[in-house]
Amino acid sequence: MNLPSSQEIIDDLAFFDDWEQRYQYIIDLGKAIDGLPEDQKIPERLVKGCQSSVWMASRIHEGRIQFDVDSDAVIVQGLLALVLAAYNDKTPAQILAFDIDGYFTELDLERHISPTRGNGLRAIVSKIQALARSATT
């Protein structure tokens, strides 16, 4: 998986001035991540939203947490890629220090990560933060 960094994404998205290009970029970003093979989309990894479902698997490698995520919706998958750009292969301390709400606000996408959206994105962020917390204790 070759994702740009969160800062690169902020810079890239600032470059577009119409929403279609921004969403196209987000969709393409989602296509760039590997996702999960069907047989790994097990119920324990499922975060069910009312609108779409997301799956997440994680492992710790040399003190950094790595994630695989997948969604049945392409824009959600793209938003997950934005989340991964911030969190993937980072130490628990880096994860906990990262201001995810500030990041989504800077991307002008904060409404997509608000708890009122039933897309599972907020739940994934909470899961990642909880994982990081339990890895530090």
């Binding site: 969403y23 609108q51 049945d72 919706a73």
Partner: protein, 405 residues
């Protein structure tokens, strides 16, 4: 006479909002309808001029609030043609109304009894009965639907028996828009001695609901689906059934005599209305119905028909679009899937263009499972929508298809 939709829209302040610089196209009316100024004014007026608790004050303000509050009951009773005003029980909405009945039924059910629901239920009219049956050891039976999303009436008749204690079904399906033949089905259920509850959440805003004509025992609806505020609705129940229906919520207002060890219940409607009610909401509901009653019903229905007909026509011509729910008698709702696009993605792209629809399981997970789909995109129409807005929906869908498929 045709409906002056432009003038009608003027009465809904929210409809002039812009989102991301684009005019709001509100097509999520099955979730909740917008509110006319008359309803907003009624709420403000109540709090500005006569806020007081009802039924118990020894002062003018309380008298006035109580009078308006009880007049609202008359308004609802008349709107649905109740036999008597005491048959109207205020609730927080359809869900609470159904819970009130289901909780009572749970106490009356025995092992071997049956409750009949349909495959097209909203969770509110499914989980309630499912749980009541579970606790009582009774059996929940489910009437299947056909490929068009209509109830299988032969199966309905076959599933009825003298063990059937209650039949619950929607007036109109929230996910499919199917209008059920509730009068005919109620007659069949009554013939075996079953009680009948109609989930009127989607029915109340579309037709002339006449509970006496339907012949059911309960009709539940929410105010917010018929231009009233959220948090208020009503259960209509036949007086002879409600008079000794097991009480659910207990406390103030609903009692007759109380000792430390015992209590007796008051008369209808109070016995089923514990605690301080949503007085402002009730007045808002009455204002909404009064407002709705000023419209030419035939013109309203004709307009709604035209909106759905246009939506269907354009949907059928739209390459790669699959309509979910093709009932012959259908109202208000166009549920659909776009080939190769998840409904949530369609919702995102439409939202970005100022078009508000619902996406997801429509609070009907078993139905989605039966149809073999993760959910739908759902556009639902109300009287203030225009044919231009239907066109805007499809223009936005073409863009969604371009970006997603």
């Amino acid at each position: 006479m045709s409906l002056d939709v432009a003038a009608l829209r003027q009465q809904f302040p929210i409809l002039s909002r812009k989102l991301d610089g684009k005019p709001l196209v509100y097509l999520d009316n099955a979730a909740t309808t917008q509110k006319p100024q008359a309803v907003i004014d009624a709420l403000v007026d109540y709090y500005t001029t006569c806020n007081a608790n009802v039924h118990r004050g020894a002062h003018q303000l309380a008298d006035e609030a109580t009078r308006r509050y009880e007049q609202a009951r008359d308004t609802v009773a008349k709107f649905i043609n109740a036999n008597v005003r005491e048959e109207v029980i205020w609730t927080s909405g359809t869900t609470e109304a159904i819970n009130l009945v289901a909780n009572g039924l749970g106490q009356l059910l025995n092992a071997g009894d049956e409750v009949l629901v349909t495959e097209m239920e909203h969770h509110a009219n499914l989980v309630t009965w499912q749980q009541a049956c579970k606790h009582a050891g009774a059996t929940l039976k489910v009437v299947p639907i056909n490929a068009r999303g209509e109830l299988d009436e032969a199966a309905f008749a076959a599933l009825l028996s003298t063990n059937t204690r209650l039949v619950a079904m929607p007036h109109v399906s929230n996910a499919l828009g199917t209008v059920n033949p509730i009068k005919a089905l109620t007659a069949k259920a009554k013939a075996v001695g079953a009680l009948v509850l109609i989930d009127g959440a989607q029915g109340i805003a579309h037709g002339d609901v006449d509970v006496q004509d339907i012949g059911c025992d309960f009709y539940a609806f929410s105010g917010h689906k018929v231009f009233a505020p959220t948090g208020v609705g009503a259960l209509w129940g036949r007086a002879s059934v409600l008079a000794d229906w097991p009480v659910w919520l207990v406390g103030g207002e609903m009692i007759q005599d109380v000792t430390y060890q015992d209590a007796t219940w008051g008369a209808l409607p109070n016995r089923l209305e514990a605690g301080t009610p949503n007085i402002a909401g009730v007045l808002g509901l009455a204002a909404a119905l009064d407002w709705f009653n000023t419209l030419d019903k035939a013109a309203v229905q004709q307009h709604e028909k035209a909106l759905l007909a246009s939506a269907h026509e354009q949907a059928e011509a739209f390459d790669g679009l699959r309509i979910i729910g093709n009932a012959t008698n259908k109202i208000g709702v166009l549920s659909f899937m776009l080939d190769g696009a998840h409904p949530a993605d369609v919702g995102f792209i439409l939202d970005r263009q100022g078009i508000a629809i619902r996406t997801g399981d429509n609070c009907a997970q078993p139905l989605m499972k039966k149809l073999g789909i993760p959910g739908t995109a759902r556009a639902s129409f109300s009287i203030y929508n225009t044919l231009d807005e239907v066109d805007a929906l499809f223009a936005a869908l073409r863009k969604a298809k371009m970006m997603l498929a």
